[in-house]
């Protein structure tokens, strides 16, 4: 899926989603920029939140990415696991996906 499984502390990680019309299954742009929340282990307070942006929208449909800096300054720690919750709305229907990765030294 659209997220690597491991990242080195200090590196960047890019995750991606494809959004679809829930009625037809067709690739479709989201009503608004998809939201993401990034959690460490099972700590309920996210260390990062934000929105994703369309990438190459002239040649793609419903394709959104986000690049995050997995740095100590951003709260990432060696050996911890991270979960990204992504929420996107198409034609008024909100769907979601979760990704996971681990940070290493």
């Amino acid at each position: 899926m659209g997220c690597q499984s491991e990242v080195t502390i200090g590196d960047y990680l890019t995750f991606a989603i494809c959004t679809h019309d829930p009625d037809t299954g067709e690739l479709a742009d989201a009503d608004a920029a998809p939201l993401y929340r990034l959690y460490e282990d099972e700590t309920a307070v996210p260390i990062l939140t934000g929105t994703m942006a369309a990438l190459d929208p002239v040649n793609t449909t419903g394709f959104y990415t986000e690049r995050v800096h997995c740095s100590l300054a951003n709260g990432f720690e060696d050996g911890k696991s991270y979960t990204i919750y992504v929420e996107a709305t198409v034609d008024g229907d909100t769907g979601g996906v979760a990704y996971a990765f681990v940070a290493g030294g």
Binding site: T83, Y85, A100, G105
Partner: protein
């Protein structure tokens, strides 16, 4: 998806799912806590089972996670593959997903087989990797019998 593909023995692993209304596709909480079963290779008896919990419920919908300790005490072994089977029910409709990951010990490129007698060689190879050395110094059992990273 919501699970890393590799884990070090002794570390924790967190897996996650998003659940949806099967009729509308909307993110929706489940009727009850999703259950999971973790299998080693293709052995039919799971080594771990349990239920997942909501995370950050106030700001999410249908978002469940579970954190497990991939320890020897929990039955995890180096070099084995593991499959997580998850079942969740929304408005009476039950759906599932499977994740897989592999366990590993510490990987040290260039060292064909690591045993305790190789410890001085390892230190020499990692002369400038002070953080790695600090970690390994406290976990000598982990590196016994380790094969090299191909």
């Amino acid at each position: 998806m919501g699970c890393q593909t590799r884990v070090t023995i002794g570390a924790s692993l967190t897996f996650s799912i998003c659940t949806h209304d099967p009729d509308t596709g909307e993110l929706t909480d489940t009727d009850f806590a999703p259950t999971y079963r973790i299998y080693e290779d293709e052995i039919a008896a799971p080594i771990l089972t349990g239920a997942m919990a909501k995370l950050d419920d106030a700001n999410t919908a249908g978002f469940y996670t579970e954190r497990i300790a991939c320890s020897a005490a929990n039955g995890f072994k180096d070099g084995k593959s593991y499959t997580v089977y998850i079942r969740a029910t929304v408005f009476g409709g039950t759906r599932g997903i499977a994740f897989s990951f592999v366990t590993r010990a510490w990987i040290i490129p260039g060292v064909a087989k690591v045993t305790l007698e190789h410890w001085p060689d390892i230190i020499a190879k990692l002369e400038h990797e002070t953080e790695v050395i600090a970690k390994l110094e406290h976990e000598p059992d982990i590196i016994v019998g380790l094969e090299a990273d191909p």
